[in-house]
Symmetry: none
Subunit: 226 residues, 2 copies
Amino acid sequence: MEPLLVFPDPPPPVLSQGLDLGGYPWTGVGSEADVDRLEPTDGWPGAVIVAVTDPEGALALCRAIRKGDIPLEPVLLIVSSEQLPGLDLREDLFDDFCVLPLQAGELDARLKHLFHKTGRGTRPELVEYGELALNLETYQAAISGKPLDLTYMEYELLKFLASHPGKVFTRETLLSRVWGYEYYGGARTVDVHVRRLRAKLGEEHAGLIQTVRSVGYRFGQSRWMA
Amino acid sequence: MEPLLVFPDPPPPVLSQGLDLGGYPWTGVGSEADVDRLEPTDGWPGAVIVAVTDPEGALALCRAIRKGDIPLEPVLLIVSSEQLPGLDLREDLFDDFCVLPLQAGELDARLKHLFHKTGRGTRPELVEYGELALNLETYQAAISGKPLDLTYMEYELLKFLASHPGKVFTRETLLSRVWGYEYYGGARTVDVHVRRLRAKLGEEHAGLIQTVRSVGYRFGQSRWMA
DNA sequence: CCTGTGTGTGAACGCTTTGTGAACGGGAAG
DNA sequence: CTTCCCGTTCACAAAGCGTTCACACACAGG
């Protein structure tokens, strides 16, 4: 088995001990540069990222992993109890998390569970909404069974919107969460991408992306009418 | 939000306390028969199953849920530390798990994470008054279950009024708190927006916004009347 | 009943926001 | 280096909607 990516380098003793006890090989990385430099030939099978000592660096690494072309599926985040409330808006950045102090066997159990879910036996990760389906592994999109030829940014924007059906996002929010946190550019960029998305979705499904005047855009109908 | 399915009935105090603290409604079930009998009209939004006191029953319930036609997506299992090794071969039966003793906030964080992954997102922020409901995330409004097509300013005005039921606001106060503190314009603007709101609310609910002569407007019933 | 103040109503104006077409420029592939 | 692709930006057109005005009506006091 290829070694797991572990951040930071060196990781806290509890983590290295837990990984060693479970028989997981691992490689510590201290920076984003290391991720590429130390990457195994078959790619990283997963990552365990500790956000306690260096939260900023940890989240930055998560973002880099998720935005990069590395299909690094299972990301396990290690946080302290005080950091739990701050996870709300960063759900996209990890697949599972552990709270310190670690329980005996919990790390092993969570890694097993993660590998089981992302293993070959299970279905590929999909984002679906009605007729629309996005395959997160192959970067393919399809609607009504017909494949859509989307560019990278179009795909990322649609993925984000379709992951939060019904919710309205301002252009600024979309720029920061789809384009990147440090992005600074014209808000009209979003408009143009939305236009192209609507065009590629076809007249029939163009209404999936609705504009909320003076606010931003919304994908699909909200399902709160209960 | 529909109540979560919780097993067993009654659940351990730590669980009920944690759910109540997080604001999650829940229904305790003691048997598989209860699952059907107590199911909400819209189905169960998720399940929290404690496997400590009755492991057999808990796993049987998981199997029943997963085999049944109920698309009960997020299943959170609560186990004791000793039960961790036994989870290996039952990965399909749950989506996530917690190890006792529960950390403060961990239950809430895991439920949020699960709901996020399964697309339902966290409980939407609502402003409600009687038949009226405003969804702050989707910028949608509905009354008696029927959606209202409000413009931005209409929505903002209604949101402000409905957030302070029974209280009377002068036009100047509304202008400064809804339109903005530096706003300078005619006070009659408020009248026109109130008129349009009343029209869109329909004849039946137009009385929700009452005019207090020589003062301003009030939403809902005065607090004096019992 | 008469009068004045305050509010409801309809329509028109004009600004702001968004849709649209096209061009620019950087980066990757050949 | 050349070429193509695609993300970004700009300028213009179109639509939406907030604001204002003029007038009609309701209510209270004398």
